[in-house]
């Protein structure tokens, strides 16, 4: 065929089993979700076993590890707390990311039902469902995360570029210049050799 004539004939057909093994991404409308389910209480158990050592018993985070719950209404604060509940727009992302990349250091070891249960527990930890809730491929679309409408597509061309284009000032651009902040006061830069900051 004419299309084939334009190709190099390199590579070979991907088999359905191979595509199924690697193509696991889940889209906001739920496309890609496997059949399965998990409830909050099961999720609490799995979470305690697999996740809580870093993310805390209540998904509140341990030390510097990410907090998965809390922070509702803080996005406009000086120090916003961005979690699944306060920030993430789509539940699909939570399912997809936990399924593919968690637990940290032991990824791709969870069964689909375990992932459903963990995600149900994360929803519960964010006060978004009650403790009876069962998340499944069928109930998935009932959940709309609070910050679903919190994102706009990059608008820098209109809001920034339009005003920062043109010949810039070269002479007498300011009356006076004062130092307002100094990194050496904070002093958090590693030493030569990079060994200290403890």
């Amino acid at each position: 065929s004419p299309v084939a004539a334009e190709t190099f004939g390199l590579g070979r057909a991907a088999l359905p089993e191979e595509i199924a093994a690697w193509d696991k991404d889940v889209s906001p409308d739920g496309t890609g979700l496997p059949v399965g389910s998990g409830d909050v209480l099961t999720g609490e158990e799995v979470f305690a076993e697999q996740c809580a050592v870093c993310h805390g018993d209540f998904a509140e985070g341990v030390g510097n590890w990410p907090k998965l719950a809390g922070g509702a209404g803080t996005l406009a604060d000086d120090d916003p707390l961005k979690t699944v509940g306060s920030y993430w727009p789509y539940l699909s992302t939570t399912w997809d990311y936990v399924n593919r990349s968690m637990p940290f250091g032991n990824a791709q070891t969870l069964e689909p039902d375990e992932v459903y249960a963990i995600v149900a527990y994360i929803l519960y930890s964010n006060d978004l469902v009650d403790d009876e809730f069962v998340l499944s491929n069928e109930t998935f679309e009932d959940v709309v995360l609070p910050n679903h409408d919190g994102f706009i597509v990059d608008d820098r061309i209109e809001t920034e570029h339009s005003k920062w284009v043109g010949e810039p000032c070269m002479e007498n651009c300011k009356e006076d210049v004062k130092v307002t902040m100094r990194a050496m006061v904070l002093d958090v830069t590693p030493d030569e050799g990079g060994d200290d900051i403890t």
Binding site: E18, L75, P89, A183, D187
Partner: protein
């Protein structure tokens, strides 16, 4: 965040100044006494150096041991999903040596040999395909130089002057000559469907780092690269194959790339929702902020590269780049932005690649507030941090391309500061 109160930077500076005293004496135009480095036969002028079998693959000479990647422990929870920094304060020209080019991993630098490597194309294509590494080397190749800048470069500086050195404030960047196959070629090989408006790309590592890229960009200039600066990619940079996405934020340069899926909509993965979205002052956030805007920094003098030679001729140098095109001009100010001089570009700016600038000057030994200001071929002028904050507030985390100020004291010591 841990704070320390000892004057490490000052100690380092004094050490540097002491060393330079030697070279200063030797470098005088007239000397009172003959220089023994000239009048006495030195060992290297009499004995023998290393044989050609000494170093099959060489490293820099030991005296350059400070030109290395550096980690800042307090930035991340561990060193696996973390960042390190290119020593841009000590480099010149534009090509980054791969061995000290920054790393950013989300589940560590994996070891993936060519024999085990597979690349899949699936989704909205006529022919879902699997390629081996050897297959990829049989497609027609291209060579291009591009910068890869982490979206978070300079991100710690949003709230104020924090880290004292160009390596730390601007070193999440490298610039290499890539060899690879246009992504377009591979998409055509699979016969992409015109209903496919996006490609979703993911890596072979545990984090996967999946990102959605609009088809227009995928068909334009994205490369599936297997060589950088003439040789195979380094393990930590995606060996054996990575994506090169010219001008766009480093996160999208998926390493160890294993799969390309043609889709009708973006996946909205973790790395384009939770991360790499930019929160504005009112609490809404920008998504899909792909391009890296025009930016520059003076690399020397700078906090890690103080002036140690006293007054007189001084080379002020730095880097400029833009994700939207080529750098056309860089201005330098010595007085915190009151007056500006146009610097000399070492070569005409190339699209979406680092550009080196120089301002050859005569330093009178007075304090300077050094700044650089890049312009690109769209006419965009690099903004100040105040201008950026007016639009975005303080919590964007990513895409901080503000003008940097170094306070250079009469001692030659330099410090990261903010100015009014």
């Amino acid at each position: 965040m841990t704070q320390k109160t000892t004057g490490n930077s000052r100690r380092a500076f004094l050490k540097g100044a002491a060393l330079s005293g030697v070279s200063l004496a030797a470098g005088k135009a007239s000397a009172a006494t003959p220089d023994p480095l000239i009048t006495e036969v030195q060992p290297w002028a009499s004995g023998l150096g290393d044989g050609v079998d000494e170093t099959p693959y060489g490293l820099p000479i030991q005296y350059e041991s400070d030109v290395v990647r550096r980690n800042v422990e307090w930035l991340t929870a561990d060193t696996i999903s973390s960042i390190n920094f290119t020593p841009i304060h000590a480099l010149d020209g534009t090509i980054t040596p791969q061995g000290c080019a920054f790393e950013r991993h989300h589940s560590g630098a994996i070891e993936l040999k060519k024999e085990d490597y597979r690349l899949m194309i699936n989704g909205l294509v006529d022919r879902p395909l699997v390629f081996t590494y050897a297959d990829l080397e049989r497609f027609p190749r291209e060579n291009h130089v591009y910068f890869c800048e982490c979206a978070a470069n300079t991100g710690m500086e949003w709230a104020g002057a924090q880290l004292n050195g160009a390596q730390f404030t601007h070193g999440m960047i490298h610039n290499m000559e890539y060899t690879g196959v246009p992504l377009r070629t591979l998409l055509e090989e699979a016969g992409y469907d015109t209903a496919g408006k996006w490609v979703y790309v993911e890596g072979a590592d545990a984090s996967s780092n999946g990102r959605s890229i609009p088809m227009e960009k995928a068909l334009d200039d994205v490369l599936v690269a297997f060589k950088a600066n003439g040789e195979a990619l380094r393990k930590e940079h995606g060996y054996p194959v990575r994506l090169v996405v010219p001008g766009w934020e480093g996160n999208m340069w998926v390493k160890w790339i294993r799969r390309i899926e043609v889709t009708d909509a973006p996946v909205e993965s973790r790395e384009e929702t939770s991360k790499y979205t930019d929160t504005l002052e009112d609490g809404t956030s920008r998504k899909w902020t792909w391009e890296m805007d025009a930016k520059s920094v003076v690399t020397s003098p700078s906090p890690q590269s103080p002036i140690t030679h006293g007054k007189g001729p001084l080379v002020i140098t730095g880097l400029a780049w833009s994700g939207r095109g080529a750098i056309t001009r860089v201005d330098v100010s010595k007085d915190g932005g009151k007056t500006w001089e146009t610097a000399r570009l070492a070569k005409p700016g190339e699209k979406m690649a680092l550009t080196r600038f120089y301002l050859d000057t005569d330093w009178d030994g007075e304090e300077m507030m050094l700044q650089s200001r890049a312009m690109d071929d769209t006419g965009y002028v690099q903004p100040t941090k105040s201008q950026l904050r007016e639009v975005r507030g303080l919590n964007s985390i990513y895409h901080n391309n503000c003008i940097q100020t170094w306070l250079v004291r009469s001692s030659g010591e330099a410090e990261n500061v903010e100015v009014s």
